[in-house]
Symmetry: C2
Subunit: 438 residues, 2 copies
């Protein structure tokens, strides 16, 4: 049987992992698929670095466009990341009728609708399991295994860097900057960590799985995003006193006409299984109307876990090609003409529980002023914690609310922060009490 | 587009769940697949019970063979369970060129090789995701998502009844019989609970996932099986003192030429995530050479979770049919001619840690006699716990070993049980210290 020709663009960490699996398991993969895979080209600007694999002559090239132009290439594997060149290459590959595998979540979140629509019109497959959750098969689970469900909600820890940093602050009581340095020293955070710590990476992923869960188009622009850089050891300690841990969660919920989609530091109860997902691990719970809750848990990043997901996609497409069945699976959750136009709810409409921390002057009447403003906006308190008086300086006043609406919380915080007895901006952390798998 | 015709045989709990999803989500499923599903017949001997669904005229029939004989039926959904009739029906359906979906783990474990071989020769699909772990997509994960991995090991809680009973004994200190009664009262155990509590159900499931993980044929006969009926609250308390919880685990590991496949009560450390999977929930960790560890966790049984998995299979096959791609996926892990002949290792060759409890006479020298026999067979102890002397009667002597071989353990236990200072058969529980997702 004629082999399926692959062209891989971008031989960095994950690309190298993909090459390793393709070379070391060529026979195994052939036995599983029934048709051999042939890695015809690997394109990278750097063709000389020793990647620990031996390329046969002519495989390693420095011109990605040679892969796009080669009529023999069936599947293009885009591993360069970034947006500009990757977008051009994928669009050109689709235009040439080639199938595409990518792990590029930023690209998909921002340009996915255009790419998927082009692929669908051309009848080619575009697979992206590795874009979310590394080796956790969340894309396949949503689009195939849970096809008989209406997804009600989804809560995930989707960024290993943030989870590592928050775990370090929690376990060692160090501050954010020190925890970030540790993450950088250990290779878990980039030199420029903004994409991770500001929540963007998790939001890219949430945009992708939200579209699959609720049958909508991708809508990254309306995902609410808040990073972890303001989280202090003090908040983590207070959280523990209330029975919570702080995690950067990606949350989406179906509200019928609209959906929630938000990424922010969140307090979750100790007995929520996600509160025990530590270090760089990722996990996601999906609640479906038939399955109840299910959890996937594993390594969300790293060379080989991500490469494993890429290989899964390559094999899915190869199996389609062996049966002339490209397009067998819609590229999002539904057939293109059936995609829902449900929109993402503005964050101001969110109703949830909140944790507040105010740095208040150590004098009588402060609590009453704060509580008065909260009351005015209909925000009622489930518990209040005021640290013992300190001579001079400020004391933290900590509160947990019953259900309150975000718009009211924002207006109240604004007013409270203007009180002369309160220093600086209040700390606000949303709480997620929905529990799963208990 | 011509709809795909389904015939469902056996409208019990899960069958009714499948009908509910097919009726309530007919449009949604059509939007997702791109081709409508038509439930042409539902066959059950009982055509009169109110199942909470309204069948259009002519759908409910009492003759399963009418489904097999009807040339319009594309997919047969076998939901009657049991072995004899189900086997005949599935064989006849395959012979007629129909695709089959089943959740019948006992049938697959025992007759799967024959059925899958017949299906493969005939070029029809036989899907069985619902046979293992209810809604957890373990079959799809092993066969598709992890296709680029060599699976190294797999450890699962695959029987909700046993997990419920052990959780009750652990949490409430009641004995096995009382916990079983509770499970029966709550509908979590059958009136005849043998299949569950003796470990057979978990072993059926382990046989299936073992074949998929290691690319072998099904080999239920060689899975080692031990149930939970001898577990006492006392053993659970001792386990806790050593930092362990007791679970009925299904364990398989790759040893190169052979594989381990065993189901038995097992002690696992508190910090192994599986030790916190309680009640009727199921979970499985898979360790692959590329992904590291991943965990799937969810409802392993019940009407709707199982029906959800059945729907996933129906849709997978429907998508194949829409593209004329039946047989796209091999029915086990590899193409039929490439299936490995690796065999399951006899339990006597197992090397692991063990917990022993002896009921010993309360007199001097007993410990030395027991330890002497263990030493003779090369079994060395990691810790020993002897309860304070009781006046008269017996005292429990509890031990945890370093690595020891099962054959030696069995011979030693035999010899120790013949000592006149030891009452009754020793309690032996295997320990699994390999930890995952830490």
């Amino acid at each position: 049987m004629k082999p399926i020709n692959l062209g891989l663009i971008g031989c960095g960490t994950v690309g190298t992992g993909v090459v390793r699996i393709l070379y070391s398991k060529n026979e195994l993969l052939g036995n599983r698929i029934g048709i051999p895979l042939n890695l015809k080209y690997v394109a990278d600007l750097d063709t000389t670095t020793d990647r620990g694999v031996t390329f046969p002559p002519g495989v390693m090239i420095n011109d990605a466009w040679k892969i796009i132009q080669d009529p023999e290439i069936d599947i293009v594997i885009e591993m360069i990341g970034g947006e500009d060149l990757a977008l051009k290459l994928i669009e050109a590959a689709i235009e040439k009728g080639k199938h595409v595998v990518t792990a590029n979540k930023a690209l998909l979140a921002k340009h996915g609708n255009r790419l998927l629509s082009a692929a669908s019109k051309k009848g080619v497959d575009l697979a992206y399991e590795a874009s979310v959750g590394g080796c956790m098969p969340i894309i396949k689970t949503l689009r195939e295994s849970l096809v008989g469900n209406k997804v009600k909600s989804m809560i995930g820890i989707l960024n290993g860097t943030c989870n590592y940093i928050l775990s370090k602050i929690t376990d060692e009581g160090i501050n954010f900057q020190d925890a970030l340095s540790r993450a950088q020293d250990s290779g878990y955070a980039e030199a420029n960590p903004e994409l991770d710590i500001e929540g963007l990476d998790a939001a890219h992923k949430l945009a992708i799985v939200t579209a699959l869960a609720y049958g909508t188009h991708l809508d990254f622009d309306n995902v609410y995003i808040e990073g972890i850089s303001r989280i202090t050891p003090l908040d983590i300690q207070f959280a523990a006193q209330f029975g919570y841990r702080i995690k950067l969660l990606a949350i989406s919920k179906d509200h019928g006409d609209t959906i929630e989609a938000r990424v922010h530091p969140t307090m979750i109860p100790f007995d929520n299984i996600l509160s025990n997902v530590n270090g760089t691990l990722n996990a996601v719970t999906v609640t479906g109307d038939a399955v109840g809750d299910i959890l996937l848990y594993g390594h969300g990043a790293g060379m080989m876990p991500t490469a494993s997901a890429v290989i899964g996609d390559i094999v899915d497409i190869a199996r389609n090609l062996a049966f002339n069945a490209a397009g067998r699976l819609p590229l999002l959750a539904c057939q293109p003409e059936k995609i829902s136009s449900k929109s993402i709810m503005p964050i101001n409409e969110l109703v949830t529980h909140y944790y507040f921390r105010f740095e208040a002057k150590d004098q009588p009447g402060v609590l009453s002023k704060i509580a008065g403003i909260l009351g005015k906006f209909g925000i009622s308190l489930a518990s209040v914690h005021q640290k013992g008086r300190k001579s001079g300086g400020s004391v933290p006043v900590v509160m947990v609310t019953h259900f309150a609406q975000e718009s009211n919380v924002r207006t109240a915080m604004d007013e409270i922060s203007r009180l002369d007895v309160v220093h600086g901006a209040p700390m606000v952390i949303r709480i997620e009490n929905d529990n799963h798998l208990e």
